[in-house]
């Protein structure tokens, strides 16, 4: 097994990251031209691309774990180059997105059985993933910004896919938010580059050597970057587009809000704080505390708003707004444990949230229910989906042994270690309570209340409660979340990997 992998790594050579990005990009372009009617060809292409990407990522993971350096450099203009570099942090995000892309592809094929424009959908779908993977593997801020803007372009058609006026309006709003954010980020990066020269990511940051008079400029740049990235990471004032983008089909909102767009923002903030500024230097600059405050406020604000949403997907959207800010909170607290908590939550939140969205999609697709009030007795009718939903919900609340518990646990420890317990602990507790407040009634309604009639039930229950391709993805992701929680200490678990990253971040 070992030699086979070594042979493979040599064969693919050091520009493996390029193949990973191109694999889904090229398939995406091909799918655009596939005839609408040829389902089989499109499905095979999709699944093939997803599996190939996962395999390549596996090889990459093995290589990086053994300390092999993967770097692809392409000079596009004088002192401006595209750099794809696989380091520990990018591996975490790449693995998550590759894995979840495979699961979401299966789910999407099932979900979009009879809907129009599927070639266009899957084309943009794979472009979007290649943008996310590119963003994760970016070796310097220039490449990061390019893939960041490319992600905006790839996701806009997905949000507008349904074509209804509401979908187009939501897409326009989404574009307005994300493009302005992208532009501000671009301006900040160019400004930083004019001060600090090449912006290659170096673990522990590159800006601490800069003279004192540039510090005020660096603060402004940090603010601009956080606003630019905050739009996608849905920090409070900039989160307006997220609930409205729920109008998109379920696989899109699952992929967008669990893996691609939202995480890109959070991942960006992690990259900026750790690999550009360096967390110690950022603390010296005094920018971490305001970031923490904004994150904390978002957590509480998101959870409270989620309480009042009757629509299931809107409630999950607001819960995403708050959950992503855990990652930002983890970054904002100066201390290895908090960092571990933040980074590991990046993966855990992805697994749990995608399960919830899959389940919500199943309910909508099978029983035609979109509102929490319609979910009475759903457990009996669709036991497996509701079980997955329950696991995901419990994870969100942070009940052991689910993955969510671990990240909150580390965040708490980190806060204790950094001595900021006073305002972080109440936030964690309050948000957990709020999570419980908006998730438990759903579970209670689903399991214990008698089922009332579902007028527009699409798929009758034959052997399984719903279409095979719709059922198994949520179950898989729910079990993954459970495993990530239970076997957190295994060598390849997200927690271990997060600890590996944090060890290198702190000098």
């Amino acid at each position: 097994m070992n030699e086979l992998l070594n042979v493979l790594t040599e064969a693919l050579g050091k520009n493996l990251p390029l193949w990973i990005v191109l694999s889904s990009f090229s398939v995406g372009l091909v799918i655009f031209f596939v005839q609408e009617s040829s389902h089989r060809l499109r499905t095979t292409l999709n699944l093939l691309a997803a599996v190939v990407k996962l395999a390549l990522v596996g090889v990459l993971l093995w290589g990086v774990y053994h300390g092999q350096v993967y770097e692809v450099r392409w000079v596009i203009a004088p002192n401006l180059e595209l750099l794809l570099h696989a380091d520990a942090l990018s591996m975490l995000f790449v693995t998550l997105s590759a894995l979840l892309w495979l699961v979401t592809t299966v789910y999407a094929i099932g979900y979009l059985e009879h809907s129009p424009h599927r070639s266009r959908f899957f084309g943009f779908f794979s472009l979007c993933v290649s943008a996310t993977v590119g963003l994760a593997l970016a070796g310097n801020l220039v490449t990061f910004v390019m893939f960041y803007e490319f992600l905006t372009l790839a996701t806009y058609p997905l949000v507008a896919h349904k074509g209804s006026d509401e979908a187009r309006k939501a897409a326009r709003l989404y574009l307005a938010y994300t493009f302005t954010g992208g532009l501000l980020l671009l301006v900040a990066v160019v400004w930083l580059k004019s001060i600090a020269g090449p912006l290659t990511f170096v673990q522990g940051g590159i800006l601490d050597t800069l003279p004192a008079e540039t510090h005020s400029a660096l603060r402004w740049i940090f603010l601009l970057m956080i606003v630019g990235l905050g739009v996608k990471a849905a920090l409070v004032p900039l989160h307006g587009w997220l609930p409205k983008a729920m109008v998109a089909p379920a696989p899109v909102s699952a992929l967008l809000h669990a893996v691609a767009v939202v995480k890109a923002g959070a991942f960006g903030i992690v990259r900026v704080v750790y690999d550009v500024y360096g967390v110690e230097f950022a603390d010296v600059l005094g920018v971490l505390v305001p970031l923490g405050i904004v994150a904390a406020f978002t957590i509480v604000y998101g959870s409270t708003l989620a309480l009042f949403q009757d629509e299931l997907k809107k409630r999950l959207a607001y819960s995403t707004v708050s959950q992503v800010s855990y990652i930002v909170l983890g970054t904002a607290i100066l201390g290895p444990l908090a960092t571990v908590g933040g980074i590991v939550h990046l993966v855990h939140q992805g697994l749990m949230k995608i399960t919830l969205f899959f389940a919500a999609g199943n309910y909508a697709e099978t029983l035609g229910i979109h509102r929490v009030s319609q979910m009475n007795g759903v457990g009996k009718r669709m036991p497996l989906t509701t079980l997955a939903f329950t696991l995901g919900a419990l994870g969100m609340i942070g009940i052991p042994p689910m993955a969510g518990f671990i990240s909150k646990w580390y965040l708490g420890l980190g806060a204790l270690e950094a001595g900021v317990l006073l305002w972080v602990m109440p936030v964690l507790i309050a948000s957990s309570l709020l999570n419980a407040a908006y998730f438990l009634p759903i579970l209670y309604r689903a399991w214990f209340l008698p089922a009332d009639s579902w007028p527009d039930e699409h798929i009758q229950a034959q052997r399984w409660e719903t279409h095979g391709m719709l059922l198994w993805p949520p179950v898989i992701t729910a079990s993954l979340a459970l495993l990530a929680g239970l076997f957190a200490s295994l060598p390849f678990s997200p927690l271990e990997w997060a600890q590996l990253i944090t060890a290198r971040e702190y000098k």
Binding site: F32, T180, K193
Partner: protein, 484 residues
């Protein structure tokens, strides 16, 4: 055939094609696109020659420079010739199926090839009066092409365009009179060496800038451009927006950095930059409010030209390598706009042909029916807004970088506002592609029409976005003080 012959052939080929297309009018189309293909090949040869053997200065007729006319091909000129011949080739392949009326078809090609001749002759001219004659040839053939449709709106636009062109040329000619009176020669390089900072120099610069600003449709003098570019037939408006306006810009660059180098103070550059900024804001705002697609594209040309002019104040202040990079970025921005705008106009032509109108609000059905054309419009939109994989993105990157380095931060604000407005008007267009109308059956649109538009759009985005590094090495062979 020595190297210098490439300079002559790249101008004579389209002229020869024009003459042949006139006499054998039934083969006009084939002669047309064959000669534009040959010219493109010649342009590549010219670029290769300049790259290898350095600047080519060809004294025509064997007379020494002061007496005879010299053709001057340096890195910048060769790149612009390549740009113009690629766009002309794309539009020629497109135009083979564009004109329905046979008569219009025959009359299009001679004028079109004369336009191509004028462009190449202008880029390679080394003599200021020769530039005047090429400017006139350009103006007359362009306005004749605009009037091709003989519809009232097109005629009025063509007339206004012709009069404006003549006015600009007259101002330019008066400037030549001054320069000739003072220095007794018409050769650009000789005048550049002899030029002193005196009232005559200032008067000549003022006149030339006014004349060329008129031809370039710089902000206060841009009123003639939107009707002309939106009423002309599609391949013509593509050439007008992408090339003809750019030729005047190229002349301003040549004069600003080479001939009038001692006179161009940063203050004057800032004034020009301010005009550019106003052009960006006004152009983008009117593009947003434009009702018709071709009008939107025309207003966006006014805005994009504003961006190009905004490079001047930064180039006036920077030195050495940073200035060379910014100069290359300006040329890259010009190339990217040329390819993107011509692709957009060609796509608009297809939509117009298919739907019979190009009112943006009622286009959703058409965009559904023509996915490839919509994809071309999307790519062109990316390049116009300046999103990553496009040349314009790199252009804007260096503009921002220079603005921060020189501390002139206000250009950043203009750029941000311009980009936001640009996104608004591009995605207002693309929003319709996702409309809910039932998809009409697949229409029959000649592939030879969609392929060139797609090729130009891909060139603007991925071609220049990723492969732009060689451009800087080509520009390294620029002549005397052109920015280096």
């Amino acid at each position: 055939m020595n190297e210098a012959a490439s300079v002559v052939w790249v101008i004579s080929l389209p002229l020869l094609g024009a003459l042949l297309a006139t006499v054998w009018r039934q083969y006009a189309a084939t002669i047309g696109w064959v000669s534009s293909a040959l010219t493109a090949g010649c342009a590549v040869w010219l670029l290769w020659v300049v790259q290898r053997a350095g600047v080519q200065e060809l004294a025509l007729g064997g007379w020494e420079i002061g007496l005879g006319i010299s053709l001057y091909a340096d890195g910048l000129a060769a790149v612009m010739v390549l740009m113009s011949s690629l766009v002309v080739l794309g539009c020629s392949v497109y135009a083979r199926h564009y004109f329905r009326a046979q008569r219009q078809h025959e009359l299009f090609w001679p004028l079109w090839l004369l336009l191509a001749t004028a462009l190449n002759a202008l880029f390679l001219a080394g003599d200021l009066f020769n530039v005047y004659v090429t400017l006139e040839l350009l103006g007359i053939s362009a306005s004749a092409l605009t009037a091709l449709g003989a519809k009232r709106a097109a005629l009025r636009a063509a007339l206004r365009y012709l009069v404006v062109g003549l006015l600009g040329s007259m101002l330019y000619l008066m400037a030549i009179t001054l320069l000739y009176a003072a220095y007794g020669t018409l050769n650009a390089v000789q005048i550049a060496e002899a030029l002193q900072v005196d009232p005559l120099g200032w008067a000549a610069l003022l006149l030339m800038l006014a004349g060329l600003a008129l031809k370039m449709a710089l902000f206060p003098l841009h009123f003639w451009l939107p009707p002309a570019h939106s009423n002309a037939p599609a391949p013509v408006s593509a050439a007008l927006s992408a090339l003809v306006v750019k030729a005047a810009f190229y002349l301003v660059v040549r004069l600003w950095f080479e001939v009038f180098a001692p006179l161009t103070t940063p203050l004057l550059a800032n004034a020009l930059g301010a005009l550019g900024a106003m052009a960006v804001l006004w152009g983008s705002w009117s593009a947003l409010r434009a009702e018709r697609l071709k009008l939107l594209a025309a207003y966006s040309s006014v805005a994009q030209l504003g961006y190009l002019v905004m490079f001047f104040p930064l180039l006036a202040v920077l030195e050495g390598e940073a200035r060379q990079w910014l100069f290359g970025a300006m040329v890259l921005f010009a190339l990217s706009h040329a390819f993107a705008k011509s692709a957009l106009f060609l796509a608009a032509g297809i939509l117009l042909q298919y739907a019979g109108h190009d009112r943006i609000r009622e286009l959703s059905g058409t965009t559904q029916a023509l996915p490839l054309t919509t994809f071309v419009i999307a790519l062109a939109g990316i390049a116009l807004v300046g999103l990553p994989p496009s040349g314009a993105f790199l252009g804007k990157w260096y503009l921002l970088d220079a603005a921060f380095k020189t501390g002139q931060w206000w250009w950043v604000l203009v750029l941000v506002a311009g980009s936001l407005l640009a996104t608004a008007y591009v995605f207002r267009l693309l929003g319709h592609a996702f409309g809910h109308l039932p998809a009409v059956k697949r229409p029959v649109v000649a592939a030879t029409q969609e392929i060139p538009a797609l090729a130009l759009a891909l060139l603007a985005t991925f071609g220049l976005g990723l492969g732009a590094m060689s451009l800087w090495s080509w520009l390294a062979h620029t002549g005397t003080g052109a920015g280096l």
